[in-house]
Amino acid sequence: MSQKKRVSLSRRTLIKGGVLLGTAFAIGIMPMKSLQADEAAIATNPKKQMGFSYDEAKCIKCEQCVRICQDTYKWEDDTPWRKLLKNENGDALSMSCNHCADPACAKVCPVVAYTKRESDGIVIQDPTKCVGCGYCLYACPYHAPHVSKITGAVSKCHFCFELQDSGSVPLCVGVCPTQALTYGAMSELSKKGDLNYKGLPNPEITHPSMIAIPKEK
């Protein structure tokens, strides 16, 4: 009798212990798994840094760069991935995310929805991971990330990384009829200019991977 009791007790203990261990294991392994996946998510010193170049003198303000981006990636009007900025003096700038060398968005994002690729420095935001806290909206000096009112998630330009991976050019660059908007390695582009442009924030904050060449007046 007493033997039986002992057996049943130990069985119960075993089941209890098993459940506890299993739960602990499951809780432990979930973040561990995602942690491993996110390891080195933000490349601080990528092999190459791709960036945009905008030559204002060549831009005819047709906005095709904006349109093809929206048509392809279906973003809502209030979450623009690319904008053609204009002012009353006739100045213009086509700008998206600048895939900064020091991306403030990636630094503050609590859920590591942002990655910066080792191979080309492209900053990719994964809307499926985003909790929608809005911290990156404050952190980014260039207003690149936006929260969708529909999904509650942030999205932004990803530099058509899939097209680039398959050897094609980004859509906005490809569609530009005058080659005002081009792209290339920052090691070359930065020889021609920077993003100290018409009231834009100091590039020292995030080191944007974009140059803008103002037209001569």
Partner: protein, 317 residues
């Protein structure tokens, strides 16, 4: 810009309030608030629930995380994000403060290491609420190392006020040691100095956008809540009252025996319960002053969150 609104402002306020309540009871327990005190328990009870409620508000403010709550667990993942630090600190604080409250409730001595750990985490929680804003270079007004200092000063002050209020309404003994008034006077003075220094730094700095944000508080859209609710009600009113109390204290012990003009119109709180150490009217003014500190603390978080202006307007010059 302007994704963050009321919920985040209240979250930052409650984070500081809960942390301050813990530290008030901790200080009382360690004898820093005078020999006769009834503040040594109630702050512990309310600290974890207040911070937890604040965290709940943060979650309510999430966009996608509210619809897909399993994403929230990922908020532990980015050690470079101050928000992730905050999640670590707040989670640990809620946990420790809850255990500490259990010990206090059972009237059992809690391990010293637990109480001190809670106090460190409480300071961390209060500082985090300011750090969250202070690290954002994209918002020059927030991007000041004085932000966490101001938030900690306000957290301690509001926490002490809340603990005093609760101890008054729920405590068994009505005592109010003069030491509390002195500590509170010191806290409010510190806060005033740091707030003044903050504005001085903003206006002497080179960030035009930060000055525009500061103008919102001092002269433009947020001037009414800033001056009326934060400065007059939350700082100057309590400051004058604590000064007057400290002065009258030097001549008459125990506290709250004498009351003078200036505040008589304000003694409208319903509770006129008399403590052994004071008359009803002065007790009311003390309570009112604690309420005023809380109003000021909440206003501070709101105006600072609402005054945010991005470093770049998003337009070409």
């Amino acid at each position: 810009m302007g994704h963050w609104g009321w919920l985040i402002a209240i979250y930052l306020f409650l984070g500081g309030l809960g942390a301050g309540a813990y530290l008030s009871s901790f200080a009382a327990e360690k004898g820093l608030l005078g020999k006769t005190t009834n503040l040594h328990r109630v702050g512990y009870y309310v600290s974890a629930p207040i911070v937890a409620f604040g965290a709940l508000l943060l979650i309510t403010d999430l966009g996608q995380g509210l619809k897909k709550p399993w994403l929230i667990i990922r908020m532990f993942l980015n050690p470079t994000s101050v928000m992730t630090w905050g999640i670590y600190i707040i989670t640990a604080f809620i946990f420790v403060a809850f255990i500490k409250a259990y010990f206090v409730w059972r009237k059992r001595p809690a391990p010293e290491v637990l109480s001190y750990l809670g106090a460190i985490l409480a300071l961390g929680t209060a500082a985090y609420t300011g750090m969250l804003l202070a690290v954002v270079e994209g918002v020059p007004f927030w991007n000041s190392y004085l932000m966490p200092v101001i938030f900690v000063a306000s957290a301690l002050s509001t926490g002490l006020s809340l603990t005093s209020l609760l101890a008054h309404f729920f405590g068994k003994r009505q005592v109010h040691d003069a030491k509390i008034t002195q500590v509170h006077l010191w806290l409010i003075s510190t806060e005033i100095i740091f707030v003044a220094a903050f504005f001085a730094l903003v206006y002497s700095g080179s960030q035009e956008v930060a000055k525009q944000s500061a103008n919102r508080l001092l002269t433009a859209s947020l001037a009414l809540p800033f001056w009326a609710l934060f400065v007059i009600v939350g700082l100057v009113g309590p400051l004058l009252y604590y000064i007057q109390q400290s002065l009258s204290h030097k001549s008459t012990e125990p506290l709250l025996m004498k009351e003078q003009n200036a505040y008589n119109h304000a003694g409208t709180l319903e509770n006129t319960q008399q403590g052994p150490g004071g008359n009803g009217k002065s007790q009311n003014i003390l309570l009112l002053s604690d309420v005023a500190v809380l109003v000021g603390g909440l206003t501070l978080r709101c105006v600072i969150v609402f005054a945010a202006l991005p470093i770049w307007s998003g337009f070409l010059n």
